[in-house]
């Protein structure tokens, strides 16, 4: 029955990639929205995110200030818009960096297997045995609370998790005979890892990136809330929640709106990750 699917004249993939593209459309729109938020957030903000305005302190949501104002009279909406950059950029940077490291590690484990794999994966297990948040806090506390350190600390959390996922897929690819063919030809390590193996793991890496990004956003907000990374007066979302919580009884909008934004963006990223995953599930099923 398989001979039918491989019939030369028709290309079932062409047809499927159209549906796949349709499924990707919300994902693309959402991605565009995030990029706009990061790039243009400060420009579209109606008020300054930093300047005090004593006459407008702690105002509830209104037409002028949809999210209300804080104790210094700063517009919450403007602060949320400006805060996208310090919250999301480290998150995405850390997810990308962590997964890049995880991908290389996973590919190496998958290709060599045996002792190399054992050694690397046990080291990854050591990293995994630390609770994520505590490990990140420890590193930032030790190395200083700069953005670079924050990103490094977060990517260190993603690295072993991603490595484990990519490795499991890479092990299967590494056993195939075309990899042996590469070795017999004397291809370089880089060629085997990145030109032969990586394309076969493309879907796994992209799905991992999408799903881990949402966790990165939560992590970035949590660390900011705990006082790591961005410092006052930067309007990072986690930091806004922290500063607003002292007024939570009579001015809840200070905490509610930043929390809501984190929740919405993180959930959206998960959903997009899921739709990308489904899209790849369809195309890999056909590739079999």
């Amino acid at each position: 029955m398989t001979t039918v699917a491989t019939n030369a004249t028709d290309r079932p993939l062409a047809r499927v990639s159209r549906t796949a593209r349709a499924m990707l459309r919300p994902a693309e729109l959402y991605l565009l929205f995030l990029v706009l938020l990061i790039v243009a957030g400060p420009w579209v903000a109606p008020f300054s995110a930093y300047d005090f305005n004593a006459s407008a302190s702690l105002l509830g949501p209104s037409w002028v200030h949809p999210f209300g104002t804080d104790e210094f009279g700063r517009d919450i909406l403007s602060r949320v818009l400006v805060g996208a950059r310090p919250t999301l950029l480290p998150a995405f940077a850390a997810a990308t960096l962590g997964i890049a490291a995880g991908t290389v590690t996973g590919l190496v484990c998958g290709l060599f297997g045996g002792r190399v794999d054992e050694l690397i994966m046990r080291s990854m297990d050591i990293l995994l045995s630390f609770p994520a948040l505590i490990l990140a806090m420890l590193i930032v506390t030790m190395m200083g609370s700069s953005i670079v350190n924050l990103v490094l600390a977060m990517s260190l959390i993603f690295w072993p998790r991603s490595a484990r996922l990519i490795r499991s897929a890479a092990l299967e690819i590494g056993k195939r005979e075309f990899i042996e063919a590469c070795r017999a030809r004397g291809e370089s390590l880089g060629f085997i890892l990145f030109r032969e193996m990586l394309p076969n793991l493309r879907s796994v890496v992209i799905i991992d990136l999408a799903l881990r990004s949402s966790y990165a956003i939560l992590l970035s907000a949590s660390l900011a809330y705990l006082g790591m990374g961005a410092q006052t007066p930067t309007p990072a979302w986690g930091l806004m929640v922290k500063e607003g919580q002292q007024f939570i009884q009579f001015a809840p909008w200070l905490t509610v709106f930043p929390c809501l934004v984190v929740a919405v963006i993180a959930t959206g990223t998960v959903l997009i990750g899921e739709s990308v995953r489904q899209r790849f599930a369809i195309s890999t099923r056909l590739a079999r």
Binding site: M1, T2, T3, V4, A5, T6, N7, A8, T9, R11, G114, R115, E118, L119, R122, K175, R176, E177, F178, E180, A181, R183, A184, R185, G186, E187, E196, P199, N200, R202, L286, A287, R288
Partner: protein, 676 residues
């Protein structure tokens, strides 16, 4: 007692065990509908063995599974399947439960998948008895042991307490057969029961099937792509093509005097039994798209005898002999294609030519890698290769045969530099090569290429055929710039693929086409030696014939030498100039093909030869099995001592056998001198 073949009563539908009538099965809907089975009619008399043959995708397994009530995703459009007159297709799901495993039992192709790895073997067989025969657990287990004895498993009591992974593939298949005969089913369906097994194991299983038939008298539906195996087991065969029965008749007659051009094509793809060096004449093309089958004769597009009137209407079934029918408009005996008689010259250099590549005292041991206790595993080392010495001259084809586990693939990988041998060396024109490909010079790597067994896993699914084939050209600097594209197209042409394939992905190719791409990639390096590691074992016989033809043509054109690794002696006899027989990591016998096949010097070689299927009932007898002798200790005495029919005693167990020399470089490692 089963009736003799020529005495079988006309299988009237009334007393038939199984009667399939006008069965049509379709997968999918509308224009996407795949008509997998179209109007198949067959009947099996009590005690009869009926063989169903055809290429993969011809629908033979679909027919078999429909008799078990499994048509997942498919729809039975028309027809009936009657078991002793009862229409199975009208059964409710509960009704099916009392049929499956009880009245109809099935033996699957892969015994490892048919057995549940989490249950003991005895309990698995007992399960069916408890379910269908209301036996108590204790009785069922006792009966299971009895069944194990019937299928000639050694030490049945002990075996019942073991798990599937603890026994060999042949033993697993025996357990599956024991399970199938447990309830004394009226019909036994066997779906390629010996395809994954070694040749000697296959001979034993076929013997067992014949024996069980004699004793139990059950009807058998036997499915296989191997005509010779079918002819050996079955009374009658049906030939399926694209879901349609094209020929049916007595087994020996269909194999020898096929009337339908498709069956003739299948027969022409078989390797000659007598070892003649004639060119194979496989069927061109591939199965039609079952979604959109052309009108008229379904085979017309690939048929050498097709005339315009073949396309007018589906040919009616014609009686062409005693109980022999064919679905072809030609009622006279068609002339055998003349091309089939075309002979081919044996090729091979003179004895005196110095070897191009030689393997000297090659050892390879597996040691289980472990970080924790590396020093404790010393004892668990097992030798996959034991002092293997071989030589191959320029342009020669060296066949390496052996059962699975004989170390032949490890040898291929050591030569190609994929595994580092633990002792000995690989030499190219006398120069010692580095153990791993990465350490060898570019020139040394270029000169030895490898074609892998599994066409699916040997090609990167994310690369086009063009990219795959052109990579070695660039890597070894055989051409550059626009030259590369030209070379790539030439290479594809050499393996009989058109330029249209350049932009295709492996998933768009059939198994045979993938294997051709594999060969083209090996050729792209412009090598002196190509190692072929079972290149045709995953392919249909007609495709195998075409791939073998391609390899032979390339040898004539390019003067390339092959190291051809296979478990199929027929292939070796057909393609190789010299042969080396491997067993348990050692070369037991080597020499010119003609010499070794005519005058085998080693008991093992003799055993392999006698196990070869010859396409006749009772023509081969499985060599008797010896179970009493202890396994030889590795590195001591003869590795074959425990199974040898010419066992001499102590000497064989303790002393490494000497090398006996015969004519034309015929060498045997045995205590018994060569007959001359």
């Amino acid at each position: 007692m089963i009736p003799q073949r020529h005495e079988i009563r006309q299988a009237g539908v009334e007393n038939a065990v199984l009667a399939i009538e006008n069965l049509s099965i379709t997968y999918g809907k509308g224009s996407e509908a795949v008509h997998a089975v179209r109007g198949v009619t067959l009947s099996i008399a009590p005690g009869e063995a009926y063989g169903l043959i055809g290429e993969s995708g011809s629908g033979k397994s679909t027919v078999a599974f429909s008799c078990m009530g499994h048509v997942a995703g498919g729809e039975i459009e028309t027809g009936s399947i009657k078991l002793k007159g009862e229409n199975l297709l009208r059964l409710s799901p509960a009704g099916w439960q009392s049929v499956r495993g009880n009245r109809v039992a099935m033996v699957y192709q892969d015994p490892m998948n048919a057995l549940n790895p989490a249950f003991k073997l005895g309990a698995q067989v007992a399960e069916a008895l408890i379910r269908h025969r209301n036996m108590t657990r204790k009785d069922a287990l006792a009966r299971a042991v009895e069944l194990f004895r019937q299928v000639r498993l050694p030490d049945p009591e002990n075996l019942a307490q073991r798990y599937p992974h603890q026994i060999s593939g042949g033993q697993q298949q025996r357990v599956v057969i024991a399970m199938a005969i447990a309830c004394e089913a009226e019909l036994l369906i066997m779906d390629e029961p010996t395809t994954g097994l070694d040749i000697t194991t296959e001979a034993h299983i076929l013997d067992l099937i014949a024996d069980l038939r004699k004793r139990l008298g059950m009807a058998i539906l036997f499915i296989s792509h191997n005509l010779r195996v079918v002819a050996q087991v079955c009374d009658r065969v049906g030939v399926l093509y694209a879901g349609q029965m094209v020929e049916e008749g007595p087994a020996s007659e269909v194999l020898r005097r096929a009337r339908h051009p498709y069956t003739m094509g299948l027969n022409n793809s078989l390797l000659p039994i007598d070892g003649a060096v004639k060119r194979l004449n496989p069927i061109p093309g591939s199965l039609p798209d079952l979604r959109n089958v052309p009108g008229g004769c379904i085979f017309a597009a690939r048929c050498a005898y097709a005339t315009p009137q073949c396309k007018d209407a589906v040919p009616a079934i014609q009686v062409v002999g005693s109980r022999h029918v064919s679905r072809c408009i030609f009622n006279e005996i068609l002339p055998l294609a003349e091309r089939a008689a075309e002979t081919r010259k044996r090729f091979g250099p003179e004895e005196s030519v110095p070897p191009q590549l030689s393997v000297v005292d090659l050892d390879f041991s597996y040691a289980r890698p472990s970080l924790a206790l590396p020093f404790l595993n010393r004892k668990e080392q097992s030798k996959a290769l034991d002092r293997v010495t071989l030589a191959i001259r320029p342009g020669e084809t060296l066949g390496i045969v052996g059962e699975s586990g004989s170390g032949k693939s490890t040898l291929a990988r050591c030569i190609a530099g994929l595994r580092a041998p633990t002792g000995g060396s690989v030499r190219m024109e006398g120069q010692r090569l580095e153990p791993l490909a990465g350490q060898r010079s570019r020139d040394a790597r270029k000169r030895v290429q490898i074609v892998f067994q599994n066409p699916d896993s040997a090609l990167n699914p994310m690369r086009t055929v063009g990219e795959i084939v052109s990579r070695p050209i660039g890597l070894y600097g055989n051409a550059s710039g626009p030259e590369v594209a030209k070379r790539t197209a030439e290479l594809l042409e050499m393996v009989n693929l058109s330029e249209r394939y350049l932009t295709r992905f492996p998933r768009e190719l059939s198994g045979g086409e993938k294997q051709r791409v594999n060969i083209a990639r090996a050729l792209a390096a412009d090598p002196d030696i190509i190692i072929c590691d079972e290149p045709t074992s995953a392919l249909d016989i007609s495709v195998q014939a075409a791939v073998l033809n391609t390899l032979i043509d390339l040898r004539a054109k390019r003067g390339v030498a092959y190291i051809f690794i296979t478990h199929d002696l027929g292939v070796v006899r057909y393609i190789a100039d010299r042969v080396a027989v491997m067993y348990s990591g050692s070369v037991l016998e080597t020499g010119p093909v003609r010499e070794v096949f005519a005058n085998p010097g080693h008991a093992y070689t003799e055993m392999l030869l006698s196990a070869m299927p010859r396409g006749e009932r009772h023509a081969r007898h499985a060599p008797e099995e010896i179970v009493s002798r202890a396994r030889p200790v590795q590195g001591q005495g003869c590795p074959f001592a425990d199974r040898c029919l010419r066992y001499l005693g102590q000497e064989c167990d303790a002393v490494t056998p000497p090398l006996r020399l015969g004519r034309n470089g015929h060498m045997v490692s045995c205590h018994i001198p060569l007959r001359t």
